[in-house]
C-alpha cells in the first residue's frame, strides 16, 4: 500500500438523460490502482462496470452527465479539454474491448491500425514505425508478423484479432491498461492464451491492469485485488484471497455460490433470487435489499456506506457495519 496511486477515482457519478429524467448508471464509485497492480472489476450486466471504464478514457457520449473526479497521476482527467485528453488516450492509458471485430476498423490493414497511436504520440520515421509494428505483433505472439501486418482484420481468427488489439494498446507502453471483458467472446483455450499474454506483458512493462469481467474464475487467476459492483455501486472491495475465502457482502456470497464447482461432489446450486433492478426503478435503500436473504428494516430505507472492515478491504452493507461497531 505504498506510494501514490496511479489512478484514483472518487465518488464518480454518471447519469444518462432519458425521456423520464436522468438514469443513474454509476452512483458514487471510488476506486484506486497503484502502478503495476492488477485489479478486477466484477459485476453482472448493467452494474456500471463498463460505463466506469469508458469514463476513465473519456469515451462516453456528450449526453452523459459525469460528476466526481478521476485522477491519473494526480491530474483530474474530467477537467481536461478534449485535446489534452488525447495526449493520454492510447499513450499513458489504453483500452481493449470485448469484441475485437467491432473494435478494429475493417477497411484498414493491421499495420495502419497499430501504427495509429504511434503516429499520434511518437515522432518516428516510416521505417521505424514499421519495425515497431512488427516487433509489437511478435511480442503478442502473432506468427509471421511481417505478413499479418499487411492483412485485414477479417482474415484473422477471434484470438488473433484480440492479440492485434492488445498490440495496438501496447504500442506506446501505457502505464494503465483497461481491459473490458477481453476474453468473453473467446473460447476457453484461446482465453487461456490471451490471459497468459496479458500477464507476461504486464510483468515486462510494469503496467497496471484494470480487468473488467463477469467471470470470477478469470479474476481469481489474474488479479491481486477485486472490486465487486452491483447496480451502479461498489458493494465490496478487497484483496482477491480474502474476498473469495471470506466474502462479506451477501451479493458477493451469492455470486460465489451461483457458480457450479469444478471439483468434488455436485451439489444443488444456491442462486440469488429475483432479477437485477432496472435503472429506472432503483430501490431506495441498499440496492441489493430486495434480493438479499438477510435484508432488515434499515436496508430498505437507507443506503449503507462503504466501510473499512479490515486493512484494504471495504464493504457496503449494514450487516458488516454492525459487526464492525460491535
Amino acid at each position: 500500500m505504498s506510494g501514490a496511486p496511479l489512478l484514483d477515482i472518487s465518488d464518480l457519478r454518471i447519469s444518462f438523460k432519458s425521456d423520464t429524467g436522468y438514469m443513474n448508471a454509476v452512483a458514487g464509485v471510488s476506486l484506486s490502482l497503484r502502478p503495476g497492480e492488477t485489479v478486477g472489476l466484477v459485476g453482472e450486466s448493467g452494474c456500471g462496470k463498463s460505463v466506469t471504464s469508458l469514463s476513465i478514457m473519456r469515451l462516453l457520449p456528450k449526453t452523459a452527465k459525469i460528476e466526481g473526479s478521476i485522477r491519473f497521476e494526480g491530474k483530474d482527467l474530467l477537467g481536461l479539454k478534449e485535446s489534452e485528453v488525447r495526449k493520454y488516450r492510447g499513450n499513458d492509458i489504453s483500452m481493449i474491448f470485448q469484441e475485437p471485430m467491432s473494435a478494429l476498423n475493417p477497411v484498414l490493414r493491421i499495420e495502419d491500425q497499430i501504427s495509429e497511436p504511434l503516429r499520434m504520440h511518437r515522432k518516428m520515421s516510416k521505417r521505424e514505425m514499421h519495425d515497431r509494428v512488427v516487433e509489437l505483433l511478435r511480442s503478442v505472439g502473432i506468427p509471421r508478423p511481417e505478413q499479418i501486418a499487411k492483412e485485414y482484420p477479417h482474415q484473422l481468427s477471434g484470438g488473433m484479432r484480440q492479440r492485434v488489439m492488445i498490440a495496438m494498446a501496447m504500442a506506446c507502453e501505457p502505464k494503465l491498461l483497461i481491459a473490458d471483458e477481453p476474453t468473453t467472446a473467446l473460447d476457453v483455450t484461446v482465453q487461456a492464451q490471451i490471459l497468459d499474454l496479458l500477464r507476461q506483458l504486464q510483468a515486462k512493462n510494469n503496467m497496471a491492469l484494470l480487468l473488467i469481467t463477469h467471470d470470477l474464475g478469470v479474476v481469481a487467476e489474474m488479479c491481486e485485488r477485486v472490486i465487486v459492483m452491483y447496480a451502479g455501486k461498489v458493494v465490496e472491495e478487497g484483496d482477491v484471497r480474502s474476498v473469495f475465502r471470506n466474502p462479506q457482502h451477501p451479493y458477493t456470497v451469492g455470486l460465489l455460490n451461483s457458480i457450479p464447482k469444478l471439483t468434488g461432489e455436485r451439489e444443488r446450486l444456491t442462486p440469488i433470487k429475483g432479477n437485477v433492478p432496472s435503472l429506472a426503478n432503483m430501490p431506495v435503500g441498499c440496492r441489493f435489499a430486495p434480493r438479499c436473504p438477510f435484508a432488515k428494516e434499515i436496508c430498505r430505507t437507507e443506503h449503507p456506506p462503504l466501510t473499512k472492515v479490515a486493512a484494504g478491504s471495504r464493504v457496503s452493507c449494514w450487516l458488516a457495519e454492525e459487526a464492525v461497531a460491535q
Binding site: D187, L256, P260, L269, I272
Partner: protein, 322 residues
Amino acid sequence: MTETLLTVSNLKKYFPIRKGVLRRTVGYVKAVDDVNFTVHKGETLGIVGESGCGKSTTGRSILRLIEPTSGDVLFQDKNLTKLSKSSLRHLRQKMQIVFQDPYASLNPRYKVGKILERPMQIHGLYTPAERSKRVRTLLERCGLDPSAANKYPHEFSGGQRQRIGIARALTLNPSLIVLDEPVSALDVSVQSQIINLLEDLQQEFGLTYLFIAHDLSVVRHISDRIAVMYLGQMAELAESLELFDNPLHPYTQALLSAIPVPDPEVKRERILLRGDLPSPANPPSGCPFHTRCKDAMDVCKAKKPVWKEVKPGHHVACHLYS
C-alpha cells in the same frame, strides 16, 4: 437409466462451399463428421466443444432442423432421417428445443400466451380453454406469474424470457429436449436459477436432455455423461465426473486445464494449446487435433483414430489408446 431413447450413428453434415457464377461446389465444410452416440432415457448428455466444433449442428441435425447429409438417428425405434415430413412433424411433439438467445427465439409480435399455445394448436391438442389453462400452469411451473401470458416478450428480462422458452418446449409433453446453450446469454446469478429449474423439471416430467454448451463447469454440474467434440468429430465421451477426474484425450486435458478456477489459492498446471482451431473446410489429415497436440505421433498425421470404448462407458478417439 439403461433404456436407450436416442441412438445417433454415423451422423454427417457437410455444408457445400459454392464458388463462381455457376455456384459450383468446390468443397465442403464438414461441420459434423461421423458422430456416434446414444442417449439413455432420463439422463442428461452434455456436448461440449469450442465454437465451430459442430455441437449445435449435431443438436439440430438430430431434430432435422438442419437436414443431415447422412447417418441414422433412432428415436423411439423410428429412424428420423428416413421419416416423411408429416410423420416427422407428428414425432416432433416428443422432441423439443430451447435456444441460446431468448431475445431472438420468441416472436416479438405475439403475446406470451399465444407463443405457448401455438405448438398445441398446430398439433391439434386440447380445447382452447384447456390450452390457456395449460399455458398458465406451465408458466407458473417455470417460475413466472400466470399473468405473464398477457404480456409481450420485450416486457421480460433475459432470464424470464428463457423461462418462457422452456415453458414453450414443455407444452407438448416432450420426452427429449435439446438445450442449445440455454444459459450462456445469462448473468451468473440468473444462470443458476435456470439450471435449478431445468433439474427440477427433469425430475418432475422424466425428461431427457441433450445439453449443448461451452461452459464446462455448467456442463459438469448438469450432465450425467459428457461428450467432447473437436472439429466436427467426437474426441471423448464419459461419465461427467470420470471425464473431469480422468480425461484421456489430449484435447480434453487441454480444455479442462484452460478453465479459470474461481479460487485464487488453486494454482494449476495449464496446458496451453498452440495456434488456432484449423478451418473445418480444410481439416488436418488423420486425427483432426494432431496439429495442436502435445503428444502427436507420426501415425496421428496419417490415420484417423478409431472411436472406441477403452474403459466401460469411456469412449475416446485417440491413437494413444489404440
